[in-house]
């Protein structure tokens, strides 16, 4: 397993090329091209803002301006959920490669995760725009944490992606189950509401168990809330756990690796 893991380093060129190809191919032929990575989250935010400002208004003073608050959680969530959705189908979609070419299969789910990370980065200007519009400069010290939080999310997502990709080869239903699980997961994560809202406090332990809560909270504290980044302990702990998740996911993937070429 460790040997295979080291081999991944050798394939970094391949991973980079494939991620670049994903991005290029995604918007090939569209008029706005990469701009869509920016427009899509903007439109999503517009819809959520309309609902939660006009129809079901969230009256928490602390969450104003609400669009900026939601952007902090929705953009990472989109990265996370799209990564898992794509990764779970990645081995089946790349069946030709696995069956016909000597090809390190783990590259495929990782490319899904990394390509979506690139979309996330391309969508970050949305946050910048909102910051400018609402005159809410985040604190410089907190921003130093931003790449760290991203790294934790990357490792965590990659671990889940590997496991899901490997299992989906054997159980195709996972893709459908996953869609529903992600929907539920989105709503139990403090993204469109505040984790310190009094309604949430009843279920505090439950929220603490949700790894993505801490990622969302971290992004919100860094980019939105005033004051120092107080959630760092959770992020460090999650970082350690993520490495465990990644190794477990990779181990599962490695175990099932030989079956891919036959079952896909």
């Amino acid at each position: 397993m460790l040997g295979n893991l080291l081999r991944l380093v050798r394939y970094r060129g391949l991973i980079v090329s494939l991620v670049a190809r994903e991005l290029k191919a995604r918007y090939r032929g569209s008029v706005l091209g990469f701009f869509w990575s920016f427009i899509n989250p903007l439109l999503l935010l517009a819809i959520y803002s309309f609902i939660f400002l006009k129809i079901l208004p969230n009256r928490e003073e602390a969450l104003k301006p609400f669009p900026l608050f939601m952007a902090c959680g929705i953009l990472p969530w989109t990265w996370f959920s799209a990564s898992l959705t794509e990764a779970s189908g990645s081995l089946i979609a790349g069946g030709n490669l696995i069956k016909k070419v000597l090809f390190p299969a783990e590259v495929l789910p990782l490319v899904s995760v990394l390509a979506n990370m690139m979309h996330f980065l391309l969508a970050l200007p949305v946050v910048v725009v909102l910051i400018v519009v609402f005159h809410r400069m985040p604190e410089g010290v907190g921003l130093v944490w931003f790449p760290g939080v991203m790294l934790v999310q990357l490792i965590f997502t990659a671990g889940l992606a590997l496991a899901l990709a490997a299992l989906t080869v054997h159980f195709r239903d996972i893709r459908d189950i996953l869609a529903n699980v992600l929907m539920l997961w989105f709503f139990v994560t403090p993204i469109i509401y505040w984790y310190q809202q009094k309604e949430v406090q009843y279920y505090k332990e439950f929220f603490d168990l949700n790894p993505f809560s801490h990622l969302a909270i971290a992004y919100q504290e860094i980019l939105f809330f005033e004051g120092p980044f107080g959630h760092w302990k959770w992020i460090v702990a999650l970082g350690v756990a993520s490495i465990g998740v990644f190794l477990a996911g990779y181990w599962l993937f490695d175990r099932l690796r030989d079956s891919f070429a036959e079952v896909v």
Partner: protein, 619 residues
């Protein structure tokens, strides 16, 4: 040193048939997840297969569909792992298994070349360096910047092929991919393979093209239902394979025929006069009709030895044996047989009445035999009509197209009927013998000319010449380096008769007889040189350690050996003398010996001391 070695490799595919529609949900509900993860059925795609491919050689893998060829290739490529046994491959592999696997349709050919190259293990810089060559090879200069989805399938495959071949692997795995382009591109691919061979690269070739294997490979293996049936010299492997294909054809035809007959026998018989007879007798519709006052109880096709068979060689004898039963004695009966090809064209038809046999009496059980001395038909599947009827055509029992047989030959001629024929030439007209594939050999059976023949052809040639009243002389030897001693010997041999056939030991048999360093000259070259001598009429390469089999096949009138052979040490003497032929010992000149010649060359300096690989020089 080997480049690829498989030892005792077994690959078992697991079929999860019961789980085909099982889902995670049902697996969880029924708590059967563990049970379901176990395979219901196993399917051995390869069973204890061992072979090794020496570095620098080209190795062919043949076999029917589903025989494990592609599995073997995938194991060598490392795409799948053997269940038991080991696969050892030395050097960088490139697998031409699925061309263009991994091309992304939306992006340009150029970008795909880079990504595909990286997938196959090249670095960006290496691809950069080979890029122009790749594009030129794929003949896509004008389209390389267009998205791959706009490519035709041929362009797609060519680009895939070009990238894979420019990976410049030490071991190239090829799976049936030569059908990717037009004739010119195929030639280019073959040239590229030849270049690989020259560079000492190893090629593992999986193909259905037997002629390619014969022409191109140094060794071959025939896989049959996951097992290695035979490996070694490609021609022999191909021969063995073809023989087996015939056998299984035979079985299949036997089943087809049995089914057709059974279906007709089971069908309800409609009343008098055989009203289910087709309106148009020349319409080829399977069936059986007739009043059955005389009944055909059994029809079988027999080969030359009288054994029931369904596959016949073109030109071989064939008999149709009809067993019939007259339920009451009759004096009005005609037996008829006709042959149809698959297009329903009647190739030949006749009956006893047409051949002036006036029926007298038929009672009880009889056996009727219709014998064709030489089935001069081109390759194909044929069906047989067998009937017994009255002189006026009233059918007793008419079996229409119920019996199927196949005619096989390696010739590629066309039409229906193959007349016995040969070519002869006068004047300044020269042919070079094509030795590329056996299938072309019938076209070059010599009349007065010279050719390299295989054993059956040589036998046929000898028989023809004898039939024309000529005396056939046979001698055999290695003829590794032809020297004047040989020439004089052969001239003398020729003078003992009218036609001289020379048997040449195959490379394999020379190695057995004279050791691994011989022959110096491969068999095809030796045969070619011999065949160009004025005194030699035909050359036949034989693979046995002794010429007994070939002498038995040719049945020469005169068997010539060197005088250094003791009379009773001469192999085949009995065979010749039994037929009234004679054995002549021709004096051998002193001072000429290939063995000494070889030694002299070896001593005279380096460069020639490499044992000949025996590789077919045609490739």
């Amino acid at each position: 040193m080997h480049a690829i070695e498989l030892s005792h490799v077994t690959k078992i595919y697991q079929r999860y048939s019961g789980r085909q529609f099982a889902t995670l949900k049902s697996a969880l509900l029924q708590r059967s997840i563990l049970r379901d993860l176990r395979p219901d059925e196993v399917f051995p795609a390869l069973n204890d297969v061992s072979f090794s491919v020496p570095k620098g050689s080209t190795y062919g893998v043949i076999g029917r569909n589903g025989s494990g060829k592609s599995t073997a290739l995938k194991l060598v490529a490392g795409i799948t792992k053997p269940t038991t046994g080991t696969v050892d491959v030395k050097g960088r592999i490139s697998a031409l298994i699925e061309l263009g696997a991994g091309f992304h349709p939306e992006i340009s050919g150029r970008e795909n070349v880079f990504i595909n190259g990286i997938m196959l293990g090249l670095t960006r810089r290496e691809i950069q360096r080979r890029f122009d060559e790749i594009v030129e090879f794929a003949e896509l200069q004008d389209f390389i910047n267009a998205p791959v989805k706009t490519y035709s399938s041929g362009m797609y495959m060519r680009l895939g092929f070009a990238v894979a071949i420019h990976v410049d692997p030490e071991v190239l795995l090829v799976d049936e991919v030569l059908a990717v382009g037009d004739e010119a591109f195929t030639h280019k691919c073959l040239d590229k393979f030849a270049e690989f061979r020259r560079k000492g690269r190893t090629i593992l070739l999986v193909t259905h093209s037997l002629s390619l294997v014969e022409r191109f490979c140094d060794d071959a293996i025939w896989l049959d239902r996951g097992q290695a049936r035979i490996h070694g010299d490609p021609r022999r492997v191909v021969d063995a394979y073809l023989t087996a294909v015939e056998e299984s054809d035979e079985q299949q035809l036997a089943t087809v025929t049995a089914r057709a007959v059974a279906a007709e026998a089971a069908a309800p018989r409609s009343g008098e006069e055989g009203s289910d007879a087709p309106a148009d007798m020349f319409q080829a519709v399977e069936g059986r009709w007739g009043s059955r006052e005389v009944e055909i109880t059994e029809v079988s096709m027999l080969d030359g030895t009288g054994r029931p068979s369904f596959v016949f060689h073109s030109g071989a004898p064939m008999s149709v044996q009809i067993k019939a039963r007259a339920h009451s004695p009759t004096d009005d009966f005609v037996f008829g047989v006709s042959l149809f090809n698959t297009e329903g064209v009647c190739c030949y038809g006749t009956n006893t009445f047409l051949e002036d046999m006036e029926p007298q009496r038929l009672a009880g059980d009889v056996k009727v035999m219709f014998t064709v001395e030489s089935l001069d038909l081109v390759e194909g599947t044929y069906k047989l009509d067998v009937a017994v009827h009255k002189r006026d055509g009233y059918p007793y029992d008419y079996h229409r197209l119920l019996y199927t047989f196949r005619v096989t030959t390696r010739a590629r001629d066309i039409g229906i009927y193959r007349p016995r024929h040969h070519w002869s030439f006068e004047g300044p007209i020269v042919f070079r013998t094509r030795k590329s594939t056996k299938s072309e050999e019938n076209a070059r059976l010599p009349a007065g000319g010279v050719a390299v023949l295989d054993a059956p052809e040589a036998a046929a040639y000898a028989e023809r010449e004898r039939a024309s009243g000529r005396r056939v002389v046979f001698t055999n030897g290695v003829f590794d380096l032809l020297h004047p001693g040989h020439v004089r010997y052969l001239q003398q041999a020729r003078e003992l008769g009218d036609r001289l056939i020379v048997g040449v030991n195959s490379d394999r048999s020379v190695r057995i007889n004279k050791g691994a360093t011989r022959p110096i000259t491969p068999e095809y070259e030796r045969a070619e040189i011999l065949s160009s001598l004025a005194c030699v009429d035909a050359v036949v390469v034989f693979d046995d350690e002794t010429p007994l089999a070939i002498i038995t096949a040719i049945q020469p009138d005169v068997l010539v050996k060197g005088a250094d052979w003791a009379e009773d040490a001469i192999v085949g003497r009995e065979v010749v003398e039994e037929r009234g032929g004679r054995v002549v010992r021709v004096p051998v000149e002193d001072g000429h010996s290939t063995t000494r010649l070889v030694e002299r060359i070896r001593q005279s300096g380096p460069g020639v001391d490499r044992p000949n690989s025996g590789r077919d020089p045609r490739a």
